[in-house]
């Protein structure tokens, strides 16, 4: 029981990563009806950006050029990384998706995959195979609540994830751009007729999704401080599965799917040998999709889907 409660926090932590990344998949999907297969690598690049920003800021702080406390460094790193990561996402949009707006969706999937491979190789070529250690921005404190030990990092991850999701919700429901995004996901064809600059909205969507991936990257880097260029592949694809599990294009679904996948994985790993984790986790995903073929919160397949 104690162990279960302990694992609950692990599940929430991993669920936060998956959910934050899955949001990027889902938002792009709800507008363009295609999955941004480079998103996992955007997450990877964002984590590296976070690493360099954090190291740079810590360097400046230690040279006493900038009077920054550790918490201030963390906040600045987060903001700067989210800002810079959004440009990575915009770059992917411009290179891989905009030229193929009217092409078959599968072609865009291929360009997305290729941009992803390009980014992995570019990071590998630029930084070498040596693994980078993410700096410790916040000194770890372990809280003990009854029998359960929780680090401040886990709580921070959880709080940040929910905070960002709330901000995203506000953005989508309260701002003009958010309204345009909702309109585009409702009817892609009519929106340009209403004078809404379609490409601007798409760029915003990619930027938002990538900024969330950037936040996930910082949180992930602080918890698992070893970075390598292929880290985005596995986490990215799992977040993709989470997005589908929740229902494609559904933002609420992406969050639920992310946490659900986190729970499934951690609980399988906690109760069965850890090598069985992927096997059981994906079998459960397969089962869920067999009984709910359109995901938990997804709409049924319709002619709207542009193949």
């Amino acid at each position: 029981m104690e162990q279960l409660a302990q694992q609950l926090f692990n599940a929430l932590q991993w669920g936060s990563y998956y959910a934050l990344i899955a949001l990027g998949y889902s938002m792009v999907y709800s507008i363009l009806m295609l999955f941004n297969f480079a998103h996992g690598d955007v997450f990877m690049v964002a984590t590296y950006i976070g690493y360099f920003v954090a190291v740079g800021l810590l360097g400046l702080a230690s040279l006493s050029l900038l009077p920054l406390s550790n918490v201030a460094v963390f906040v600045l790193t987060l903001i700067l990384t989210m800002f810079l990561a959004s440009f990575v996402g915009i770059g992917v949009e411009l290179v891989a998706y905009r030229p193929l707006r009217d092409a078959p969706r599968a072609s865009a999937a291929i360009t997305g995959l290729m941009v992803g491979i390009f980014m992995e190789t570019a990071v590998l070529a630029a930084l070498g195979a040596s693994r980078k250690d993410f700096p410790l921005l916040i000194p770890p404190i372990t809280f003990t609540i009854g029998p359960v030990h929780v680090t401040n990092l886990k709580l921070l991850t959880l709080a940040m994830a929910f905070g960002l999701m709330f901000l995203l919700h506000l953005f989508i429901s309260r701002t003009k751009i958010g309204m345009a995004m909702r309109a585009m996901s409702f009817d892609y064809a009519v929106v340009p007729l209403m004078g809404i600059p379609m490409n601007t909205i798409i760029v915003f969507t990619f930027a938002l999704g990538s900024a969330l991936a950037g936040a996930a990257g910082i949180l992930f880097g602080m918890a698992y401080p070893v970075l390598d260029p292929y880290m985005g592949v596995l986490i990215g694809w799992k977040a993709f599965v989470a997005a589908i599990l929740g229902g494609r294009g559904s933002i609420f679904g992406a969050v639920v799917g992310g946490f659900l996948l986190g729970f499934i994985e951690i609980l399988v790993a906690a109760t069965l040998p850890s090598t069985m984790r992927d096997l059981i986790a994906y079998s459960i995903v397969l089962l869920i999709l067999t009984f709910r073929p359109y995901g938990l919160f997804g709409e049924e397949y319709s002619a709207r889907l542009r193949l």
Binding site: L100, M114, T121, A125, T290, Y301
Partner: protein, 445 residues
């Protein structure tokens, strides 16, 4: 469109060199049929097999340049003259001479032989070319066999992604099932192995049993593909893509957990039975079967399911049957390709069949073009060609290939041969085809 016409109007300096050469070529080789070219190339590769090493030595190349010297040229530009002389002497000259002198012979055959026999003759020449070419260098042998396997994979994937319009990424998973099944069968039956004990049958029987093991591998893969085919009744598009993705992960994880076949360490000791000839025969067989499948009623039905499932259902297409057949055929041939792969490489482990492998095959498929048998041959050929001439550059290879693929997708979003087909009977009988076209033009069709 506009840019293209503008480009063609730009005066390119080398045009004035190209035009006379093209005119000379057209004058002397205008009606040389494909068969003559193939025979010429076969003779050229035979000569290379016999004298290539000597000539390369005297040209200062060390050994025979593996892929027409292209990667040598990219790596050490100082050797360009030697490579040019080698290519001219070894490939161009014999091919041109033989093609010129056998033209009348082939034109006579073109009229006498039936299309089937004539096409078979071309396949035979193609085999001879590739066979001689591959005998020079073990590296060429390996690359050609892998190319054949990739053609099989791309073609079988095209069935689901192209003809049926789904997005399947499980090709590496199907491949791994086939690879493991055929490896286990062959090692258990024909090899003295630490795990599976002494061989049941003498090892000399292994080449005979290899086709059987491939069919078995294909069949087992097809059965396992029911896990993907049955959910496809209710869902399609992205959800099916996820199901195929989950299949890939599940298969990989299963093999990692099966300790008696090595788990994550992998499985080796496969007998050397996948010679070039064997791979070639299977690839030709695969292309033939797939071509017949997609031109059959069932193939048209598959297209109908892609374009509009409900409408297809109303036109009496049994959509469930179509889906099962398409997925199972895809899985069968991917499994066969996996079995071939295991015996070509001689070592398999679960992580050699990961998502990256699927992405590579998808890249070949979409480069070549959906819904096209010839595209599924062209795609892997181009992709492998690129990746092999860039091999000396190691890491940079994976920077260049994505850029080229993205450029290709942007310029031709449907792939190079998407929804088009080279018609083989017309290809091999050019003169006849030309005359027919002329007759049609005169008749005013």
């Amino acid at each position: 469109m506009g840019t293209q016409t503008a480009l063609s109007r730009v005066a390119i300096p080398w045009r004035r060199w190209v035009h006379p050469v093209a005119a000379w070529f057209r004058q002397h080789f205008g009606d040389t049929p494909l068969g003559s070219w193939l025979l010429g190339a076969a003779v050229a590769t035979l000569l290379e097999r016999l004298f290539g090493a000597t000539i390369a030595y005297y040209l200062g190349l060390g050994s025979v340049p593996a892929i027409f010297g292209l990667s040598i040229v990219l790596k050490t530009p100082a050797l360009i003259p030697s490579v040019l002389v080698f290519v001219l002497l070894m490939y161009l000259l014999p091919t041109l001479l033989v093609a010129k002198f056998t033209t009348p012979l082939f034109l006579r055959w073109e009229e006498r032989l039936s299309t089937r026999v004539y096409v078979l003759l071309h396949v035979l020449f193609l085999f001879l070319i590739l066979y001689f070419w591959s005998q020079v260098d073990p590296y060429r042998l390996l690359v050609l066999r892998l190319l054949g396997i990739n053609i099989l994979l791309t073609l079988s994937l095209n069935l689901v992604n192209g003809w049926m319009g789904e997005f399947s990424v499980s090709v590496a998973g199907f491949m791994s099932v086939g690879a493991y099944v055929s490896s286990v069968f062959m090692v258990w039956g024909f090899v003295n192995d630490d795990v599976f004990g002494p061989a049941f049958f003498p090892e000399s029987l292994a080449p005979l049993a290899f086709p059987l093991s491939l069919v078995l591998a294909g069949a087992v893969t097809a059965v396992s593909a029911l896990a993907v085919a049955i959910p496809s009744f209710r869902t399609r598009g992205d959800y099916l893509a996820i199901i195929t993705l989950a299949y890939l992960f599940i298969v990989k994880s299963t093999f990692e957990n099966l300790d008696f076949i090595g788990g994550p360490r992998g499985f080796m000791n496969q007998p050397e039975v996948a010679s070039f000839t064997v791979v070639f025969v299977w690839v030709v067989l695969g292309i033939w079967v797939m071509h017949n499948f997609v031109t059959s009623t069932l193939g048209k039905a598959t297209n109908a399911v892609r374009d509009n499932e409900s409408a297809a259902e109303m036109m009496t297409v049994d959509t469930r049957r179509v889906k099962v057949v398409a997925f199972l055929t895809h899985a069968f041939w991917s499994g066969v390709a996996g079995g071939l792969y295991a015996h070509v490489i001689g070592y398999i482990n679960p992580s050699s069949f990961d998502l990256r492998k699927s992405a590579e095959i998808l890249g070949m498929l979409y480069l070549g073009g959906l819904n096209s048998v010839s595209g599924s041959i062209l795609g892997p050929v181009l992709f492998m060609f690129l990746s092999e001439i860039l091999r000396p550059f190691q890491l940079a290879k994976w920077l260049v290939i994505p850029v080229i693929l993205i450029y290709a997708m942007v310029r031709r979003p449907r792939g190079l041969m998407g929804f088009q087909e080279l018609r083989v009977p017309f290809l091999v009988r050019r003169r006849q085809a030309q005359e027919e076209a002329r007759a049609h033009a005169v008749a005013g069709d």
